[in-house]
Symmetry: C2
Subunit: 599 residues, 2 copies
């Protein structure tokens, strides 16, 4: 079995649970059919398994080094990325008008997901570049696009996002990097940027930084932030490489996981001028940067899912091949040992991983499907509807997998026991890698404030109303199947509880107290949405069992069992949590800094 | 503030919540008073901070290496351990008749706890040696004791426990290491032992291994296991060092955390004879090994608590000194930023750490107090009662901190954001270190089977009845304080729910199905017991507020707030979990190996 993908499950999600086949019928994606996409998946699986997976452990043990102001990475990383580039995969995420493959996002996520599972840190360089190119394509002037976009799209150059600074991580209002207008219309950038993934590397000949900075005289706070394109090496008008643009690598951060992806402290304009070019309008930097944020945050969620999938597949394979112990009802030491996958608690840990990972994965593809549908739609009302639902679900996509798929990685270690705790097996590395996802691209706490403070309220709660309609439509179908009726009732009750909680919070006088338990709300709402995703899968499984031949029935039975698990073991947990949120419980909020330890 | 101990809290637990003062009144511990113990804590805090904490990061980054069949460790590790030895601390855990300090276990845990918090991997060598010496003191012949015990007690030699083998981790019934009787009464040991912490090192001149092995002709399974003392270097009759005993280091395991503690694969009798000496009776090896298991498992729980405490103290200090962002009610970017400890979600994450760590810590000291009371008691009925309660609580002591204090470490990283994910800060290292505790000394799943399959049933449920009496006695006192009355009601309801669950499980026909959700039961019962520990602390806090001067009130208010947190945010979680256990839910149990991914 593959350690980076369960192709049967991927087919189930894309074609049986969701409607990639329908997306493929649109004019926009008419160049593709299931057969051509399957071949693409085959190719990607091969490259990911042969080039990315094979060097993942080595890359982790030999992280990029800071030598004479430059970065040195292991040759295997460059070979792997080069195989990806040569297969033309750098263009997977872009429209054909800028030289892209114009794949549905569902498929882009599916094929990139295999690389993430195989070697997430290696893929981070590629993922960031996609974000930069898409941002430039949407917000940049024709001049900038002509000069920089082709080399980003074909993967000759990589890109980065430079938001944070040492004194301003989550608080972008406080960034101090400065952009002074030059006579010829460009800007001189000066300042220090922190946590820049891929900020320096020895893989591509140039790096295109997207930098948030302030033009002197602009309004204070986030309203005075502009976005600039700042190349590592200047580019001459004919496209030939120019001089070094004075972006100095001041240091590398040494991380717990995702070690193969450099994370840099960069000084702009310290030892000479760093020339930058305004992208979009002055003082619209944050909006331009966040233009791609929904898709980026879904990708972060997908990375959490895929990192956990690696642990799940590995621990499942291990459990099915590792003899140890005997059944509780027969401890005779002279009888042979059983595989540990037969022990109830190992089953529980494998099932928990399955339920979290496959539930979250369905949510990621569901959101990707919405983005694909939007792009194929000319119905403004439908587009607005999809935008609202995506806005609502994005913080869940970012956070729920970061929490629960990390938990899955923790369980994968436990299945392997002592072996799982050693670096000879991949499960501990995947656990370390996954711990990143709750931190970057907007922390856990920020996602909570986003959903409870903004998303559930926007347009008088329109997004939650749309969520209800969509969930009801799933429940309508599901309730026709006798074995799913109880889940429908439980889902309806849970949805009502979420709605009541939102209403209770809306009545709070103190807006800070209203959001005091926002993270707990986010978490519980994630459980509601993932339960819904399991109901969608259960419908597909019931229907699949009717339509398909019996050889596949174990797969469908597994889906139904995991649905049962999520509804019985997980969904009931939201009730006490939502009560705290609705009660505006102030236990934590009231605590003073002195009370923690008495000094 | 110290990064390894909150002395105010330690005083609160030992003297205000529990009764170390009463223990000190006994004849057995009459050499000590609070003042002398405080001086000892001062000394230990200094050594731990100056020698252990200072090299923790370096030890993690420079793990022991396997060079020419030997182990090389960094010199700072040897200096740190040498400072511990020179202060006479190696003898802290032993009775005076064998040269020990005869400290109450409560104090032994307190002073060693600081070293664990400062540098757990360095302390592992010391902790294991204590276990070996105690085992030898209880089970060994006078000849063995005379020859080996003094050098273990004074710390000149270290000890190890050799249970697992590559093919037999949790399943000791399947070990194959063999012990052949020699003519002179010793044994030749042959076999391979795996996961041996401290199995080889360059710190002490000799290492005393306690090895489980089978004498040919002994019964199959655990009933045929004997315990042997096998020295790394043979010891001449006059105590002088003899020849190498042919225990070959076959390899080191490279772990995710606790890297400074070697973890070895050892070959006995491969290149020559490895002489071993029977400890205790033939075929009583497991019982002899498990003689110290209660205390060892409490120490594992304490190590989980202390590793989390390091993360808590560090993240609290960071949060109180890191300006970032503004209150939700005033986002004016021209106003100064606030400390992140003012943000509601940071408070939630700090409070969660506090509630888990200080709750679990109280349980560890409560169990240590029982062991101390046992040792000072001549009342056989009281001793039996304490033994039963200890037996019941031990799996919780081992597992609950391994789960929830690891969660605390996860939150400590989150408080620091990106910084927390880098190796420049200690919180990620502590998180990696703590992941070990669910695995060694009996895995999570094994503890679950132990508590639900054996401990709650033994002597017709006598241990649970004792637990009820002890909890009721706390509730009697607590209910006299108006602000604690509601907690008493909630605790009583939770206890009843646990009792009903145990009764429901007892009726199951299928013993395997009865234990299918044993781990979930263990977890929930842990919540019950930790809630009880919080009620104990709340009583002490309420009484402390009455007795003490006002300068200390923030500390007590923090204790009461954390009690509120545990009862409101955590304890309600057990209800849906215990329902699954009582219902004998078979969702996971029924799953076949094929159903997970369909192949």
């Amino acid at each position: 079995m593959s350690m980076i993908v369960n192709r049967r499950d991927l087919d189930f999600v894309l074609y049986e649970t969701l409607g990639l086949d329908k997306i493929l019928q649109s004019e926009r994606y008419g160049d593709y059919d299931r057969e051509s996409l399957d071949s693409m998946l085959d190719l990607c699986q091969t490259i990911a398994e042969e080039e990315f997976l094979t060097c993942a452990a080595k890359l982790d043990a030999n992280e990029p080094e800071f030598v004479d102001g430059k970065v040195e990475t292991i040759p295997e990383l460059k070979s792997a990325i080069s195989a990806y580039q040569e297969a033309g995969l750098c263009a997977s995420a872009y429209d054909s008008d800028i030289g892209g493959m114009q794949l549905p996002m569902m498929m882009d996520q599916a094929l990139n997901g295999m690389f993430v599972c195989a070697n997430n840190p290696a893929h981070i360089y590629l993922f960031l570049t996609q974000g930069v190119a898409n941002m430039l394509a949407v917000c940049g002037s024709d001049e900038l696009k002509n000069k920089y976009l082709p080399n980003l799209v074909n993967g000759n150059w990589f890109g980065t996002m430079c938001l944070s600074e040492p004194q301003a991580g989550s608080s972008l209002a406080d960034i101090t990097t400065k952009a002074d207008l030059n006579v010829e219309g460009s800007y001189s950038i000066t300042g220090t940027k922190m946590w820049i993934s891929g900020g320096e590397q020895d893989i591509t000949e140039n790096i295109i930084h997207m930098v948030l900075a302030k033009i002197p005289g602009s309004p204070p706070g986030v309203k005075g932030i502009s976005l600039f394109l700042v190349p590592k090496n200047r580019v001459n008008d004919d496209g030939s490489p120019g001089d070094f643009n004075n972006i100095a690598l001041a240091g590398l951060n040494h991380k717990m996981g995702c070690r193969g992806a450099t994370n840099c402290l960069l000084n702009f304009g310290e030892s000479g001028e760093s020339i930058g070019y305004l992208v979009g309008k002055e003082n619209h930097g944050l909006a331009n940067m966040f233009h791609m944020m929904n898709e980026a945050r879904i990708s972060v969620g997908m990375s959490a899912v895929m990192t956990a999938l690696g642990g799940y597949l590995y621990s499942l394979d291990y459990a099915r091949n590792r003899p140890q112990g005997r059944p509780l009802v027969n401890r005779n030491p002279e009888d042979p040992q059983i595989m540990i996958s037969e022990h109830a608690d190992i089953k529980r840990m494998l099932m928990t991983q399955k339920a979290f990972i496959e539930g979250a994965q369905t949510l990621m593809y569901y959101c990707a499907e919405m983005i694909d549908t939007k792009k194929t739609s000319r119905d403004q009302q439908q587009i607005q509807r999809l935008d609202l639902l995506l806005d609502l679900l994005t913080p869940i996509c970012k956070s729920w997998p970061s929490e629960y798929c990390l938990e899955a990685n923790k369980l994968a270690i436990q299945v392997l026991g002592g072996y799982g705790y050693t670096r000879e097996y991949p499960v501990e590395r995947l656990y370390r890698d996954n711990r990143l996802n709750h931190i970057h691209e907007g922390t856990w706490g920020i996602q909570g404030i986003d959903i409870l403070g903004r998303k559930v309220r926007m347009h008088d709660g329109a997004a939650v109303a749309i969520l209800r309609e969509e969930m009801e439509s799933t429940m309508d179908v599901a309730s026709k199947h006798l074995e799913l009726v109880n889940y429908c009732g439980q889902l309806e009750d849970s949805l009502s509880l979420v709605e009541k909680t939102i209403a209770a919070v809306a009545k709070a006088d103190d807006p800070a107290l209203a959001l005091a338990n926002a993270t707990i709300f986010l978490d519980s709402m994630g459980h509601l949405v993932v339960a819904w995703m399991w109901l969608k899968q259960a419908v597909a499984a019931v229907e699949g069992k009717l339509d398909h031949n019996a050889s596949d029935s174990a797969f469908y039975d597994g889906k139904l069992a995991a649905t049962g698990f999520f509804f019985r073991y997980e969904l009931p947990k939201i009730k006490p949590n939502l009560e705290l949120v609705a009660d505006l419980d102030s236990t934590c909020y009231d605590l003073t800094a002195e009370q923690f330890i008495g000094i």
